[in-house]
């Protein structure tokens, strides 16, 4: 076998996807085999595991399809995810009648425009469109609706939802399309790197808090979050990031630093989402539909929404 580093970009990316789907298939087969052998006691966990696996398959497929279809496909795929996440967020935010026009603006104007800008790779406009222009436009539309009750609170909710679900997530396809010197066309590796280190950071944090039975830092919000578990998550992300340095344009130490940054942001993003869920009165979103029918997509993309912008700008500043 020849050294993959000598291959052209497309072959390397094909190898990445073969490896990704290979690992997924392997895990799925193991889970399926174990479910035959197991008794009823672990059935609940098995169901949960299978749900998570299905979500992973879906995520990997979206990743692959968005790569296959190029810039347009990538923007479209993440645009749809963004739409569904924002839909879930707004459902939980208990908006009022006067918010209607502002919400229409958010869903049908801001979201397509933001992803359109990503598709056109106008990264200067992309970074200011929502934080500056939309930030000012939403309260204007809201004021014109003529409902002064809890005005600031309502607008803050909508703005926050747009920032996280649209602005944050739109950095994922932006990474895919980012054209770096000496790294042309390998954006898929960057996105893959980001998703892997964020996932590893979260899993490591969860495992650490379970194994060490640490005292939670913010009991009211999240029982599994503690400083040491968080540090473990960041460290694990850094180690994995260093191990995967060869798919990034940087050397191992910098890859580790970037991975630690992304992993930390992802974990903190999840903590923020937990706080939001507690506030909205939802205990477990999971994949089971809740009262409002929210299906837990927001839960899954939240760490990515938080990590992607930071990671994106870290990559851009470095070059």
């Amino acid at each position: 076998m020849t050294d993959p580093r000598g291959w052209d970009v497309d072959a390397q990316i094909a190898l990445l996807f073969v490896a990704l789907f290979g690992v997924l298939a392997l895990v799925s087969i193991v889970v399926a085999l174990r479910s035959i052998a197991d008794d009823d006691e672990t059935a609940q966990r098995q169901i949960q595991l299978r749900r998570d696996l299905r979500a992973l398959w879906l995520g990997a497929s979206v990743f692959w399809v968005s790569w296959m279809l190029g810039p347009v496909g990538a923007t479209l795929a993440f645009g749809v995810i963004s739409f569904l996440a924002l839909r879930e967020f707004i459902t939980l935010a208990h908006t009022r009648r006067g918010d209607h026009r502002g919400l229409i603006l958010a869903f049908f104007v801001v979201l397509p425009l933001q992803y359109g800008i990503v598709g056109l790779q106008r990264f200067d406009l992309f970074s200011v469109f929502i934080p500056v222009y939309v930030f000012l436009a939403i309260p204007v539309v809201s004021a014109l609706a003529g409902d002064p009750e809890r005005f600031l609170e309502r607008n803050a909710k909508i703005q926050w939802g747009i920032m996280v679900c649209v602005f944050g997530l739109s950095h994922a396809p932006a990474l895919l399309l980012l054209n770096l010197p000496r790294f042309g066309g390998r954006g898929a590796f960057l996105l893959f790197f980001l998703v892997v280190v964020v996932a590893v950071g979260q899993i490591a944090q969860e495992l650490a808090s379970r194994a060490l039975r640490l005292r939670p830092m913010v009991r009211q919000i999240d029982r599994s979050f503690s400083l040491r578990a968080f540090a473990a998550g960041v460290a694990a992300a850094a180690v994995v990031g260093a191990a995967f340095f060869w798919i990034t344009p940087v050397e191992p130490l910098r890859a580790a630093a970037m991975a630690a940054l992304a992993g930390g942001c992802g974990t903190l993003g999840e903590l923020v989402m937990r706080a939001l869920k507690k506030d909205a009165g939802v205990r477990y979103w999971g994949n089971r539909s809740s009262v409002t029918g929210a299906v837990g997509l927001l839960d899954r993309v939240a760490p990515l929404c938080f990590a992607a912008p930071i990671f994106f700008h870290a990559v851009r500043w470095y070059f």
């Binding site: 839909r87 209607h100 539909s289 029918g293």
Partner: protein
């Protein structure tokens, strides 16, 4: 595929995209038996939501009630209600020589299922208004048809009164256990019981 079928799939897809249109079958399973679904009525979208929450194979036999004067007033409206939704038309103005329930009775005789909103009009107060007596008359004429209560949640946020563009917000339709008219139950007691059956399906505020 005919144009009407394609239109039906498109409408169901859009309804799911905007609202999720999740059906929660709490008291019964989605089954191809003759049924009368009755639900709270808060928005113009209520019918589309129930229809989209049903499995595709049940949609063709499940028919809405449409006001004849409005829904036959233009060619497109007529085509939409007749070909896509297979609506049962009723006259809003009551004439002396005709029973307004006649078209519904005929549809039930054919073996079709119906979706009705017994409040008669849209309510905005959160609690459904008292039920009109049509449900009682249908239940007494067709004791073998299962009566399924349903609660449609959140839809008033999708399209408040006076707005034309819907906002994407997740909605659910909860279907309850089948009920029947008891042998010696009078009209008022039955309608009160039916309304209570719909209201118990309302998701608890958490």
């Amino acid at each position: 595929m005919t144009r009407a079928e394609a239109m039906g799939l498109l409408i169901a897809f859009i309804a799911r995209l905007i609202t999720g249109a999740q059906g929660h079958w709490k008291g019964c399973a989605p089954k191809a038996e003759q049924r009368i679904y009755f639900a709270n009525h808060q928005s113009h979208l209520d019918w589309v939501l129930i229809w989209a929450a049903l499995p595709e194979e049940l949609r063709a036999q499940t028919r809405p009630i449409a006001a004849k004067d409005y829904w036959t007033s233009s060619r497109f409206k007529h085509w939409l209600t007749r070909e896509v939704f297979n609506a049962v038309y009723v006259a809003r103005q009551r004439t002396d020589d005709q029973d307004p329930l006649e078209p519904l009775v005929e549809a039930l005789r054919n073996g079709d299922s119906l979706v009705i909103f017994p409040e008669g009009t849209r309510s905005h107060k959160g609690e459904p208004m008292p039920f009109k007596s049509g449900l009682y008359h249908l239940a007494s004429q067709f004791p073998e048809v299962a009566l399924i209560p349903a609660w449609i949640d959140n839809v008033q946020r999708v399209m408040p009164k006076g707005e034309v563009v819907p906002v994407p917000i997740l909605c659910t339709v909860t279907f309850g256990a089948p009920m029947q008219l008891e042998p010696d139950e009078d009209k008022r007691a039955f309608l009160e019981r039916a309304r209570a059956a719909v209201m118990t399906l309302k998701p608890k505020e958490s």
